[in-house]
């Protein structure tokens, strides 16, 4: 009963959000029905579109799974954007440095470089929180800005495509990266690359990590009760750092996949982080929340958000509505879903309180008197 209620609330929230979207479409004179059709068609209409949805979902799955690690340890990671950028930069640099390695080696190498880049940028706020009590919400957000500027600097300077310098156009982008680093397609004839599979496996790995390994056990113990964990001999500070490093590493992996799964096969900046990440660092948080902060549920929930993103693009094209409308509909879904989480908590607490109230005589401590039992 409780489970059912818990699951239905976010869906209900999504439904209400779509109703709002319909009202907005009506307000600008477009047909909501056509809009919905365009949205669904854009997201699921063909194998290619389905693949596009999956590709959009990929960084969300990774960031979202990473977020669950942090949240289960009771640390907040708003640094997805910076971690994605860091992973992309490090993996790009590696690909530039050793472009001639065979694909079988170079692909894993750039992916690991992405993991490491993200882990470093995650570990910094982790260590700052653990050892210097710096609020991780602030430090992760600040690092987002730092990483964007680092990206802009590197892509305009040290990493810039020499051809851009020669031509004098100076577009801030790298040269075309080694084909050996390109993520191979996994379905023939469809643009669906290995990154999608890696993201799903990573989310499963996070589940295994959190609930099947001693490392995850420690993270969750620290997340639930740092005092009890500490008294039991668990190093709370180290685990907080670990949580953010692991969380960041998945963002970094997403960054590497964005670069080596991209059509252009190069890293480009428009000066903002969203220009490169598509705001996956933030949307991944929403996907994780929508998935109840459970790494496995993050997979379908990210896919849903991916569908929303690709569908909105189509909506914009088919109905000729301005782009902000599509973005606004996305935003409304996010607001409703996130606030529904609060509602769910409230309902849970209410149910619990009622159970507790009714429960007094039957606490497991004392065998309650059952009729006919001995006195």
């Amino acid at each position: 009963m409780k489970r059912l209620l818990g699951a239905s609330i976010p869906l209900l929230a999504a439904l209400i959000a779509f109703l709002f979207g319909a009202v907005m479409l009506l307000a600008i004179g477009a047909s909501p029905w056509e809009g919905l059709k365009a949205l669904l068609d854009g997201a699921f209409g063909s194998a290619d579109r389905l693949a596009a949805t999956a590709i959009k979902a990929t960084p969300l799955v990774l960031v979202g799974a990473g977020i669950t690690i942090a949240f289960r340890t009771s640390v907040v990671n708003i640094g997805g954007e910076g971690q994605i950028v860091a992973g992309a930069l490090l993996s790009t640099s590696v690909a530039l440095a050793v472009p001639d390695l065979p694909a079988i080696i170079l692909v894993p190498v750039v992916l690991v470089a992405g993991l490491i880049g993200g882990a470093i940028v995650g570990a910094i706020p982790g260590a700052l929180k653990a050892y210097a009590s710096v609020n991780e919400i602030l430090s992760t957000i600040m690092l987002n800005i730092v990483m964007v500027q680092l990206m802009n600097y590197l892509l305009r300077g040290p990493l810039i495509d020499p051809l851009e310098v020669e031509a004098g156009t100076r577009i801030p982008q790298t040269e075309r990266l080694s084909d050996n680093a390109t993520l191979p397609n996994i379905v023939p004839g469809v643009r669906l690359h290995l990154g999608v599979l890696i993201a799903v496996l990573a989310a499963i790995a996070v589940y295994v990590l959190l609930w099947r390994t001693p490392t995850g056990f420690r993270l969750r113990a620290v997340g639930h009760s740092p005092d009890a964990a500490k008294a039991a001999g668990i190093n709370v500070k180290r685990n907080i750092t670990t949580a953010l490093a692991l969380s960041g590493s998945l963002g970094g992996l997403a960054g590497a996949i964005l670069v080596f799964g991209s059509e252009g096969q190069r890293m480009v900046t428009d000066g903002s982080s969203a220009g490169f990440t598509g705001s996956a660092g933030f949307n991944g948080i929403v996907a994780a929340l929508f998935g109840g902060l459970h790494p496995l549920w993050t997979i379908p929930s990210s896919f849903l958000f991916g569908a929303l993103l690709t569908g909105a693009t189509n909506l914009q094209r088919v109905l000729q509505v301005p782009a902000p409308i599509a973005i606004a509909i996305n935003g409304i879904v996010v607001i409703f879903v996130v606030s529904s989480g609060r509602l769910r908590e409230k309902i849970d607490r209410m149910l619990e309180a009622r159970a507790e109230f009714d429960d007094t005589p039957s606490t497991p401590e004392t065998p309650a008197v059952v009729e006919g039992a001995q006195s």
């Binding site: 009890a228 001999g233 497991p364």
Partner: protein, 505 residues
């Protein structure tokens, strides 16, 4: 004549009977104690009195006439007051504001806090409550907050006052003060219902005692005609050993050596001041003292959760452990039962089995190639649950849903796993039901017999006297005396706890 009579009260819930044919009455001017383990039906009976439940059978007679109470406000209106175990006060408001909360003002829509304050002062003087109406509640000590709760009831002209485990949070001195206040109230003809499971307090304060067990009255008695042992037996339903057998044991070498330990407290003062003691294998050293005299800091420093001041040393089986982290100390054979069960002892949201492996979860026994071996964990935990008689539906039940006594058994079971060399047990039975406490005591003694050096820290003097081979008394961060169990009495230890040191000849 009785001011309150509850006759033949029966209350059924689906599958259980919370109260069965319970008779209970209170006369003006007496303290009638309601005694029973958690879940015995005390709170159901009180909820019926306050109109939160309606009895299925039986009647409530208030001031001579049958009363149907359907809500707490109706009960309060009638002159029945409640002092909750967990205070219902708004910390940021003043005492007067807290007292006035929920009452209509004589000058509505404006407040009449000056009049309220005036009345509070009168009541305070009359009953010796020494409550200042103008102080913010957050500034008050626990004992003072409780007096504010009593004030709230008196202000609402309660004739009958229910005190739900009022001494659970108080120091012995505060308990004495409270009892004096309560005595004054009964002298004026008020009736008191005292709910407690601390037997010596029950014996000291009560005029009459009603014991509940499994929803039924297991006896009515008075302190004059009963004893603590008898009360305990009535509560549990079998003979209970309040003082466990302590067979003589050959003590071994010193396993825990504490030398010149000084620790800074949280408020920057010196909480522990140059303390030295040894605990030998096969020995329980009890630390007696009013809480807040450095016990907590001593335990946490030995456990590695606090850094002592320079010059201190702590040796575990001869090894200096001060440079080590908690984990390394535990690997050397240290076990630690923290004072605050739910904060430091167990992870409430973790299952019973997760808490049972909290310390040794990464040992080879429970893992294979990096992953948990859930079969081995289940086996281990089921065995511990059985051996330590933990009452839990399953080992996957969230620990926070167990009773205090069972949570404590989980912690003790975990800490005694692997036969520790040194055990620090802080308040091992505080707030724990008698049956569980008896069991925990037996386990501590059994562990001592196996050669563990146990440091027992407890505010419960009976516990310290009953379990310890030697007793160290702390006062203001210093050990004022270490007494052999044979020479220790309630009186001489009590005096030492108050800082009274006899000149030794």
């Amino acid at each position: 004549m009785s001011m309150l009579e509850m006759r033949g009260i029966t209350k059924r819930f689906p599958g259980v009977i919370a109260n069965q044919d319970v008779d209970f009455d209170v006369r003006a001017g007496e303290v009638h104690t309601l005694l029973g383990e958690n879940g015995a039906g005390k709170s159901t009976l009180m909820k019926i009195l306050f109109g939160l439940y309606q009895p299925d059978e039986g009647e409530v007679i208030w001031q001579g006439s049958p009363a149907t109470i359907t809500s707490p406000s109706q009960a309060i209106e009638a002159g029945i007051g409640m002092v909750h175990q967990h205070f219902m006060l708004v910390p940021t408001l003043t005492v007067a504001e807290n007292v006035a909360l929920g009452l209509s003002s004589g000058r509505a829509p404006f407040t009449d806090l000056d009049a309220v304050s005036e009345r509070i002062r009168e009541i305070s003087d009359q009953h010796g409550l020494s409550v200042d109406p103008s102080v913010d509640v957050w500034r008050l000590s626990v004992g003072e907050r409780q007096r504010v709760e009593i004030m709230k009831a008196l202000y609402r002209q309660a004739e009958l006052l229910v005190l739900d485990e009022p001494t659970a949070v108080l120091t012995p001195q505060e308990v004495d003060d409270l009892f004096e206040i309560l005595r004054r109230m009964t002298d004026e003809g008020r009736g008191l219902i005292f709910i407690s499971h601390k037997l010596h307090e029950v014996m000291a304060l009560s005029d009459r005692i009603t014991v509940l067990r499994n929803g039924r009255v297991s006896g009515h008695t008075t302190p004059g005609e009963t004893s603590r042992e008898e009360l305990a037996a009535m509560m549990v339903g079998r003979a209970v050993k309040l003082t466990p057998d302590r067979p003589p044991v050959e003590t071994g070498d010193s396993r825990l050596e504490v030398r010149s330990l000084s620790v800074q407290g949280d408020r920057g003062t010196r909480a522990v001041d140059d303390v030295s003691f040894d605990v030998k294998g096969g020995e329980i050293l009890g630390i007696a003292g009013v809480s807040g005299n450095g016990q907590r800091e001593i335990a946490e420093t030995i456990a590695g959760l606090r850094t002592p001041l320079p010059g201190s040393s702590v040796l575990l089986d001869g090894t200096d452990v001060l440079p080590m982290k908690t984990k390394q100390r535990r690997d050397l054979g240290l076990a630690y039962v923290p004072e605050e069960r739910m904060k430091d002892g167990a992870v409430g949201d973790f299952s019973v089995s997760e808490n049972l492996i909290l310390v040794n979860h990464d040992t080879a026994e429970f893992t294979s190639s990096g992953l948990f071996n859930f079969d081995a964990i289940r086996r281990h935990c089921s065995e511990l649950v059985e051996r330590f008689a933990v009452k839990t539906p399953t080992i996957d039940t969230p620990t926070s849903s167990l009773s205090g006594g069972n949570i404590q058994k989980v912690i003790i079971a975990r800490e005694l796993t692997g036969n520790p060399g040194v055990l620090i047990a802080s308040q091992p039975t505080r707030g724990v039901d008698i049956g569980s406490a008896e069991y925990i005591h037996e386990q501590l003694i059994a562990q001592r017999d196996r050669g563990t050096a146990t440091l027992l820290i407890s505010e419960d003097l009976d516990e310290v006297l009953g379990l310890s081979d030697r007793i160290a008394v702390v006062f203001e961060g210093r050990i004022v005396a270490i007494v052999d169990a044979d020479d220790a009495t309630r009186e001489n230890i009590g005096l030492l706890m108050a800082g009274v040191v006899e000149p030794t000849g």
